[in-house]
């Protein structure tokens, strides 16, 4: 097993009185792609949002158990700082509509009021855009609005925006579900390329996608983690009967 960057221990999640996650234990290996899959409503997104404490923005949520980022309890890190170390990409591309492509990439710095030198900014923007393969496509229109880009480009811009904060982990919540197959495959290739620099945790209900890109895969069903392991093993010889049913398309 690779070096573990994130440990989830006995995680229970409640929304008001409703228990969404049931004592989840999961080790996320560093510099790998881990896919979390499961049918809709199984708590995949909730699990993801708990990792960077985005759930705290929703009133009425309670979390038990602990999550350790590099052996540090995430509750001991201020939520804002934690979110710069664990970036997030959403289901629908959401670049800031009032900002240029350039400003979108450094939006995290703008938001947090971090002053950067012009050449520092240029460097961050160029590196982030290069790492998502967007630099050649947009280098002549950096000061145009990000919303003029195609859906796939917008999503890559959002990944660049998350990468610009130099996070340890990025969380992706069904990042390709609103994209066409071509844009999807570009993003998939990108994620595989990125994993040497950053740990990737991706939620998907697309089994084929999980099998194409992930090194490890977790199967979540009704808020319980039924199976976790190396993708090649889980996809060929699942241990749990439910996992097998899910993989063979009996439900989804």
């Amino acid at each position: 097993m690779d070096n573990v960057i994130l440990k989830i221990r006995n995680l229970n999640f409640y929304y008001q009185n409703h228990k969404v996650l049931h004592s989840i234990n999961l080790d996320i290996p560093e510099n790998n792609i881990t896919a979390i899959m499961g049918p809709s409503g199984c708590g995949k997104s909730t699990l993801l949002r708990t990792i960077n404490r985005m759930h705290e923005l929703t009133h009425g949520t309670t979390v038990e158990g602990e999550i350790l980022l590099k052996n540090l309890n995430i509750m001991d890190i201020p939520a804002e700082e934690l979110r710069t170390r664990i970036g997030m990409v959403f289901q629908k591309p959401n670049p800031f509509p009032h900002m240029s492509i350039y400003d979108n990439v450094i939006a995290g710095y703008i938001l947090r009021g971090i002053k950067l030198h012009k050449n520092q900014k240029d460097e961050i923007v160029e590196n982030a855009l290069k790492s998502v393969g967007l630099w050649e496509e947009v280098k002549d229109k950096l000061f145009k609005r990000g919303t003029f880009l195609s859906g796939g480009q917008q999503q890559r811009l959002c990944i660049a925006r998350a990468l610009a904060m130099k996070p340890d982990i990025i969380l992706l919540d069904e990042p390709t579900s609103s994209l066409d197959p071509l844009a999807t495959s570009v993003i998939e290739e990108l994620l595989v390329k990125l994993k040497k620099d950053v740990t990737i945790l991706v939620v998907t209900h697309n089994i084929a996608q999980a099998s194409r890109i992930s090194d490890y895969v977790a199967f979540l069903y009704l808020g319980e983690l039924l199976e976790f392991g190396l993708s090649e093993k889980v996809f060929t010889t699942p241990k749990n009967a439910k996992t097998e049913e899910f993989l063979s398309g009996k439900f989804g």
């Binding site: 804002e80 509509p97 947090r112 998350a162």
Partner: protein
Amino acid sequence: MEKVKKISVTGEGDILSPFNYIKRIFEFRNVLPFLANLSGALVALIILGFLLTLGAKSLEFAKNAGVANILRTTWNPIAEEFGGLPFIATTVLVSIIALGISVPFTLSVSIFIAEWKRKNMFFDVFNTALDLLSAIPSVVYGFWALFVLTPFIRILQLKLGYPPYGVGVLTAALVLAIMIIPFSVGISREVLKLVSSDIKEAGFSLGATEFEVTRVVTLPLAKQGIIAGFILALGRALGETMAVTMVIGNFNAFPKNLFSPSNTIASLIANQFNEAWGNHQSALILLGFLLFLITLIINLLGGVILRGAKHEL
């Protein structure tokens, strides 16, 4: 036959007798569009009629006294001097000051309402109280200002070495500010709520605090709509009559300072329409016409900007 089929209810081509055919035309759902169009046309007609009657009376003034006379600075109806410039200036001045006072309150209150996560009783009471503010009759505002606000203004005037009138431009602007806050808040909280939570979440996911997200994401996105709200509030402030009339001091000249008594167009008309005839009356009507045009333009402008803002969000 074709016609009959067209209004068939079931869509199965049932053929109606002439009697039923006529009956159906007068059915509610067929009459409704006609009534709606009629009411719409009526509104347009009323505005047009307004413009025509005001315009005709104003022309009368132009013919008898010369339209340029309204732009002079002395108002003395007995000497047939109808200089309306002081009132136009005071109207704009009082409204702009009121708007300026209301801006920080409107912004903070609408952000508070739009971003407040925990919907509890306090929130409901606060929200309702704010809506109730706009239900208070203007005369009650004026009364309140006269008995509660003016004593404080007097103390301030004495401290600063001005004659302690209590009433004047600042007093009017203050009460006006309070009166337009619920109005502009109503618009800006609506626009702020239109900013999608997806976009705000993107801000949070980058490690921003709520304040930073509001400052860098929500406000810039809602900016246009908030400005439209202020413009529409300005439109209201310009024409507000009763409360202003009660506390502005009703003095027919340019205000010399913030504490000076003066008159807005609306308060001048309210004060003098009763005893005005001839040129005096048509001068008041011309001023009213001008006020109407100004508020009409302001309202149209605000409406256009607001529509654009909502379209973008």
